[in-house]
Subunit: 370 residues, 2 copies
Amino acid sequence: MAQQHLDPPTDPTAGPTGDALAGYLRAQATEFLRSLRQHRETGAGGGTPAHARSRVGVEPGVGGNGMDASGDAALALRRSARRISGTLHTFRPLLDADWSEAMRPELAWLSGTLAREHAYAARLERLLLALHRLSGSSVFPAQPGVAAESGTGTRSQPGVPERGNLTVGAAKAGALLERQLTLARTRAHSAALQALGSSRFHAVADSVAVLASEVPLTSAAATADLRPLAAAAEERLCDAVAALPLITAGHPYNAEALIHGLSPDPAPHPQDGPWHQVRLLLRLHRYAREVLYGENAPVDVRLLTAGQALNRHRDASEAAAAAAAAARTPRIAPATAYALGVLHADQRHEVEAARFAFQQSWQKQTVGTP
Amino acid sequence: MAQQHLDPPTDPTAGPTGDALAGYLRAQATEFLRSLRQHRETGAGGGTPAHARSRVGVEPGVGGNGMDASGDAALALRRSARRISGTLHTFRPLLDADWSEAMRPELAWLSGTLAREHAYAARLERLLLALHRLSGSSVFPAQPGVAAESGTGTRSQPGVPERGNLTVGAAKAGALLERQLTLARTRAHSAALQALGSSRFHAVADSVAVLASEVPLTSAAATADLRPLAAAAEERLCDAVAALPLITAGHPYNAEALIHGLSPDPAPHPQDGPWHQVRLLLRLHRYAREVLYGENAPVDVRLLTAGQALNRHRDASEAAAAAAAAARTPRIAPATAYALGVLHADQRHEVEAARFAFQQSWQKQTVGTP
């Protein structure tokens, strides 16, 4: 793959240079400012605050597909912030060092803060869907976004959960998770609003505004070939993937993900770390390809499916941790704790399934195994 | 496969006839009586009663490998009882109808009664091993018998559980399961002893003694070709397999086995029934082959592995039900219930893994997929 994309054509000077880098950063900065305006116009945070939305259970919007306008704006804001930050990182040597080193943590802080509300909402939806699936209870027809989240195609149709058809334990577990994750989501919502009003944020917005007009390239950058740095990013990805336990992951039902499933630590399992790391490196590689090939970059299905598998891995890992944490709530009924235990194990198996899916998609084009 | 084994050779009369059937039944009956003698000599039930054994947790013997002498005898007794009963069923038309119809339920009662104690012991061991695996706690080196039970090769080394390294919840869950399954096992132990002393059992033993000397064949049986009846048994197996959801089962992480994982019914899931049925039909087919080809029958690895997968399916299904039932114990701590929930889900995924293993082994020789 690396070869396929990165072998220099007969004329080496034909490769994209710093100009392409500047163009990409300007475009992302412009997109950032556009989303910011839109976000302010739509009233920063949307009409309905999170806690009110939660009243009606999980609203269709929150799955990641078709969020309300301000949600879309926040998503777009994060999208460009991530791309700017990642590009500053991958092409560091071609940019004013002090400036980009100062900017990256600020962009990370921003996209992290903006991501949290949506993450809690998606986690709650994932867990409620799982509770209904585990109860064999009927749910509304699947939505694209949700279906994408729900893993293997043969699962029972997921969709927006409805109350009913749940055992007492499952219902209580669902209510408990909804209380806890909705509270966390509400807090994240206010935190995001605060952040967007903070002077820290305005400083970020100002530097992005600068970026939109002039990109602080080094003198050498304008004519420098971008491909070596992009290749280095891909190499970091491949090295990290090579370090993953892919042989085990490719062996279905290896039962690795649930080891320590009963360990006292509610935090995501340490074994998940390397996979989360690969997820980030995959993203950096994707952004580097965008810089090189622009919007009309050849879509790499393998990167797409691998990335989806790693997102699913991350979501399931965090959902499993949330179920385990909820089970530590004092004075819950045994039936509730039992349901949370089943739910935790189910999500850990989702983690395992996601690793299998990643292994399959990754091996597909590298060694050609089915 | 049917063809391969059952096509009549050029000379059709060369196929095994009722004489082979009579020989097989006589041999099994003799084996039955031999094991019965051995069982009585070893003091019907072994020196250590089940409840005393349970004191030291799960003893190495109870995994199904290397049981004490009386355990071995009981195993051998069941083994021949199952074979006699199965053979009477498959070759019914060649045997005195009233006699064999009267005998089969008695043999079923006997092997069922004798099987229970061992089943509870094995279930407890399986669940304790799982609890330790889920706690990531170190266990003694694996034993052959246990390793065979523990599914995919990449699991963390299973073995005889030792106390320690368990969370409070896991430890309490283990103690609860040990209490409940040891009680059930002790009851099964006394029930087996009672059965072996009952007049009902002596009647069975007498009929088996008759069988050992003269097999009540029909007049036509002596020269009848056994292959059509054996083929019919194989056909019943193949039809039942064809009715299984093998396409889903062949799709790893299909999450089917845990559907209704939170249903209020503690009994094994109805979806398991067809698989249990195939397990029995596979056994009948194996016995029919023994009748046709005798002790030196060609070992069919496919039948072997398929049978092991279905045993694992049965064991995991019942272990999952036991965990769910234990979680219904009144006044247990939430941490205990949580651990039992994780354990239940883990065993249901073992069920799913066993279905996948069966699908793989079955497809291997029929359609030649890897």
